[in-house]
């Protein structure tokens, strides 16, 4: 579970002060899918940075699985990112000259995971994200959509509790965007990983179960989607006379 308790984040001081978040409070239960929507500069990315322990709140508390992120020593914060929080960026942030497999394995290498366990987890991710046919390709040879799939595999290989996605479809065309959003939704449903996705695009936000609208560092609107949405099963088109 992620908890924000009256969180304010201020950058700079004096006349140069920028208030990125102002008195923000919310809770995200484990396994939920939340989208944070808002224009550029509204504080969306800051919100993710606070959860990942990249930056600390100026006031208030951020709890990830009961851990107060602000009180963690820098090594503990790094451990939080290595073990509990997966991060996906708009610009993928992959290592271009390493293969798909090596990129996916990287967080486990940094965490000194034992070789056999590392191989198993990387294999699982490559299969799950349909990347096993590309494992030896350098990521620079892949399309944008494929690179983002590698980035998602890299984020999920640590088996995180939380997946943070910062404009994950910002550099992709419509069809690759749909595939990535579908994938994120499936990972949320099948692996039970909590997803926090920030975006300026309402279509992207609409994949979530709950949407916050963030304007000038404040949550101005909370939208809960209809969980009962049921589209039914496919129907035959050419033989539906009611005679069967």
């Amino acid at each position: 579970m992620i908890v924000f308790e009256r969180v304010t984040k201020v950058f700079g001081s004096g006349p140069m002060v920028v208030r990125a978040l102002h008195d923000v409070s919310f809770e995200v239960p484990q396994g939920a899918f939340l989208a944070v929507m808002g224009p550029s500069g509204s504080g969306k990315s800051t919100l993710l940075h606070l959860i990942a322990g990249i930056t600390r709140p100026s006031a208030g508390r951020v709890l990830v699985d009961g851990l107060d992120v602000a009180t963690l020593a820098s090594e503990e914060a790094a451990e939080l990112r290595r073990r509990k929080v997966g991060y996906v960026f708009q610009s993928f942030n992959l290592l271009p000259y390493l293969s798909v497999e090596e990129n996916v394995a990287m967080p486990l290498v940094l965490d000194a995971t034992e070789v056999q366990a590392r191989r198993q987890r990387v294999e699982k991710m490559l299969v799950l994200l349909d990347l096993d046919g590309r494992r030896y390709h350098a990521v620079s040879q892949l399309s944008g959509g494929e690179q983002q799939r590698v980035a998602i595999a890299r984020a999920l290989v640590i088996e995180p509790r939380v997946l943070l996605a910062d404009e994950p479809t910002g550099n992709l065309d419509t069809s690759a965007s749909q595939a990535i959003l579908d994938l994120i939704s499936r990972m949320n449903r099948d692996l039970g990983v909590t997803v926090l996705l920030v975006t300026h695009d309402p279509v992207c936000a609409a994949y979530a179960q709950r949407v916050f609208r963030l304007v000038d560092g404040r949550i101005t609107q909370t939208i809960k989607m209809d969980e009962r949405l049921d589209l039914g099963e496919p129907l035959p088109v050419r033989d539906d006379t009611g005679s069967s």
Partner: protein, 185 residues
């Protein structure tokens, strides 16, 4: 295209693809699957259309052995196929979507004291659109490549996403300009 005309040709089109005919309930289910939330149509409306198609000789009633007696099955006639072909060749009659008339009227007569309520209205409208988008993307995710109408459904979903994205962008602009004009924060 007006609603009556779209339902009439939609039903005729579905009948044209069912050699053994269709009953009203099957037509309703197929409409829901292909068009999702875009085209809500009730069973009574479908049977009224089927009745009119039969009276004008575009569809006929078929006896189906073993079918539940309550379900009337209809099949397209030769004349119905001709009229459907003629319709498919005609220029679309859709007019551009109207502006958000109610919101425009409210904007026109709003005074500074009404602005908070107006911005709330914009927020509610945005909320409605985002919920609608959720239904649209859920519909997209439920699609299966083997569905016969998957291609058209995909295009309809693309269109719905583009429309809603534009409507939300317009609402964002309305909110920003109203705040700016009335110096509301």
């Amino acid at each position: 295209m007006d609603r009556t005309r779209s339902i009439r040709y939609g039903v005729l089109g579905l009948l044209s693809r069912a050699d053994n005919g269709l009953h009203g309930w099957a037509i309703k289910r197929q409409c829901e699957r292909v068009f999702g939330g875009f085209w809500q149509v009730n069973l009574g409306e479908i049977y009224r259309v089927l009745g009119r198609l039969k009276n004008t000789g575009l569809a006929e009633h078929v006896e189906v052995t073993g079918a539940p007696s309550m379900r009337k099955v209809f099949r397209i006639t030769h004349r119905g196929r001709e009229q459907l072909r003629e319709f498919l060749g005609q220029d679309p009659q859709d007019a551009p979507r109207p502006l958000r008339e109610e919101l425009a009227v409210k904007l026109l007569f709003a005074e500074a004291s009404d602005i908070e309520g107006l911005l709330l209205l914009v927020e509610r409208q945005r909320e409605t659109y985002i919920r609608h988008l959720h239904a649209v993307v859920t519909h997209r995710r439920a699609r299966r490549p083997e569905w016969a109408d998957e291609f058209v459904t995909g295009l309809l979903i693309d269109g719905a996403e583009m429309h809603v994205r534009a409507e939300i962008a317009w609402l964002d602009r309305v909110a920003a300009r109203v705040r700016e004009r009335f110096r509301f924060s």
